[in-house]
Symmetry: C2
Subunit: 368 residues, 2 copies
């Protein structure tokens, strides 16, 4: 079983082993019950647990929810888009949306002040979420630090239902900050099902596999908690984009990612410096072709920048055949990136008044 | 250094070693700055840390506070009275009083439901506290489960300031329930100093030595927390009454204590069954005298039932000289106990309407 640390930067080499170890199923035939979706078609969203509970509720016309959290400890980059797109998809399917700004966790485990967290949440997350299509007015957005008496008290009551051994087996040795944060996350994940939010309902949490330990223990809490009933939360799993220079994409290494607020010039420079699957010489490349699996520029195209499958396939073939050079692939990426960023950043600024109005209306106008 | 487990039933054999190990000072000359007090005179309250911060504030006419918590996991017995009497003393000196009902802790570490905890708090604690002289209308009483968003969020923020090593060194290996409860206790102890309660002020927490680990780590949190200022909390320490049959007094063993709601008949039976320091035969007793140090009945007289020092001294001399038999000592105890319990239980019932009014006025009318 692969060890997973939800607080670390994790690169999962072997998704199948991880899936098997933790009882994660492939999306498989459930794909047909989801709206047609690039992430699923391309295997970027590759796994799920109990997703049918959510789809069944949708089919029956019963309430269901999608929940996600954001950790305000850095900028919003392309690696974050897979979650946002799924949240938007489930919202369009009729899910209630719960969006948690994990400012207590950032404070306790990443040394981010509440003030800095608040600014990051607004500037890096909310504006980008809305620009990416989230309907904030139909979202239960909250900061952990303002989650409410009952929510925070519940996270402490949940502590009864996880033993020390389970905690250590799941997370390894952990600091008070991490234990306390994990308990908060269980309440966050179960928030759509809280009495004040209408009680038990199927809920899906789109996560990277590194967050699965939280999902698993939340499922244990959901089935053991005696005060109110919970449906065990479902989850989907997406592949991590790798960093632009190969290896992991890390918020602490700006060369490894393109932020959605990067200038077009900076973004293009990062593409120029990215690791490709091209050959050592033009001659060799023409002869043997590029390797898309090792090409971080192709990965960016495949994850986000080329929406049409046929077009992506044409690019792949030309690149693998050697007809397209790495420089030409980069040129395509830079053009798409420029269009994407200009469009996104325009939407971002258009979203600003709405986000500010939402924050003011919900009493988040001032940092506390 | 003596190991202390704040969640266990602890018998501290050697108070001096414990005091030295943890930097607890004797009450010493500070006794002169306290109201004349049986518990201090008799060395029942034997130690303190930073108590002068509270006395200095009192002398300057500045705000100061006394804080205590109650764990609703059993009945209220004579072993609990030393804390209540100190709280009343500090309240009469002008301290703001904060009284915490630790229902989350009882739930997470003792498997007590919130409903049972609520009933125990009212029936076993509030009524007895008020009967023992606490002025509830000048008390910030709260349940942890309703401590408020900011209080509960703060307890989570505090987790940043205690390392895993400090936690383990202080408490030993601990479950999520205990870690989460300890963090709640830090917020409880610092509650009188919270921004919503007027900010930093000297605060004294009367505790048994078993609770000192919480006080020590709260002092660390108080000095490390960056968001708002705190004065490190002060503390007083009292000797534990031993159980009626020798050994420890334990809430899980009704023969070991006399509850303040015991019937006079039950209480007398417990005295009859109590361990004494008498000799094996009347002849031997007349010759050698009783040993007050080994006499649980004398301990009860000395702690609570005989308020006059001269009278207690006369009883001691007669008992140690052999002039008084254990049966006669028990007879004195039973008479005093009857008076004490009848008076206390009368005050308890007289307090009921006030307690119910207080609970209703403060929104605690219904269990949540």
């Amino acid at each position: 079983m692969t060890d997973i640390d939800p607080w670390g930067d994790v690169e999962i080499a072997d998704y199948s082993a991880t899936m098997e170890g933790f009882g994660i199923e492939p999306i498989g035939p459930l794909a047909d019950r989801l709206p047609d979706n690039r992430l699923v078609r391309r295997g970027i969203v590759f796994g799920q647990r109990d997703l049918e509970t959510v789809l069944d509720a949708r089919d029956r016309g019963d309430p269901f929810a999608v929940m996600t959290g954001l950790m305000p400890s850095g900028v919003f980059h392309f690696g974050h888009l897979a979650v946002v797109e799924q949240v938007r998809m489930f919202q369009e399917m009729g899910a209630e949306v719960t969006l948690c700004a994990a400012d207590i966790e950032a404070y306790a485990t990443r040394d981010v002040s509440l003030e800095d967290a608040r600014e990051l949440v607004v500037e890096e997350y909310l504006l980008n979420y809305v620009a990416a299509g989230l309907d904030l007015d139909r979202t239960d957005f909250y900061f952990q630090s303002g989650a409410g008496n009952d929510h925070l008290a519940r996270s402490k009551l949940f502590s009864r239902y996880i033993t020390e051994n389970e905690f250590e087996a799941t997370y390894g040795a952990t600091s008070p900050g991490k234990i306390s944060s994990a308990l908060t996350q269980y309440a966050d994940i179960l928030r759509p099902q809280a009495p004040e939010n209408g009680g038990p309902k199927p809920t899906v949490v789109p996560v990277g596999i590194d967050q699965d330990p939280h999902v698993r223990l939340t499922r244990d809490v959901a089935s053991r908690y005696r005060e109110t009933a919970y449906v065990k939360p479902a989850s989907t799993y997406h592949r991590f984009m790798r960093g632009l220079q190969g290896g992991k994409m890390s918020s602490s290494d700006p060369a490894s990612y393109i932020a959605l607020t990067d200038t077009v010039e900076d973004a293009k420079r990062k593409i120029d410096a990215a690791k490709t699957g091209g050959r050592a010489s033009v001659e060799e490349h023409r002869e043997k072709g590029g390797t898309v699996e090792d090409d971080m520029v192709f990965e960016l195209l495949a994850f986000h920048l080329v929406r049409d499958d046929d077009e992506l396939e044409r690019i792949r073939r030309k690149y693998e055949s050697g007809a397209m050079l790495s420089g030409e692939l980069k040129q395509i990426a830079k053009e798409r990136l420029e269009t994407f960023l200009r469009d996104h950043q325009e939407k971002r600024e258009a979203a600003r008044p709405d986000v500010e109005r939402y924050l003011a209306e919900h009493g988040f106008g001032e940092a506390t």
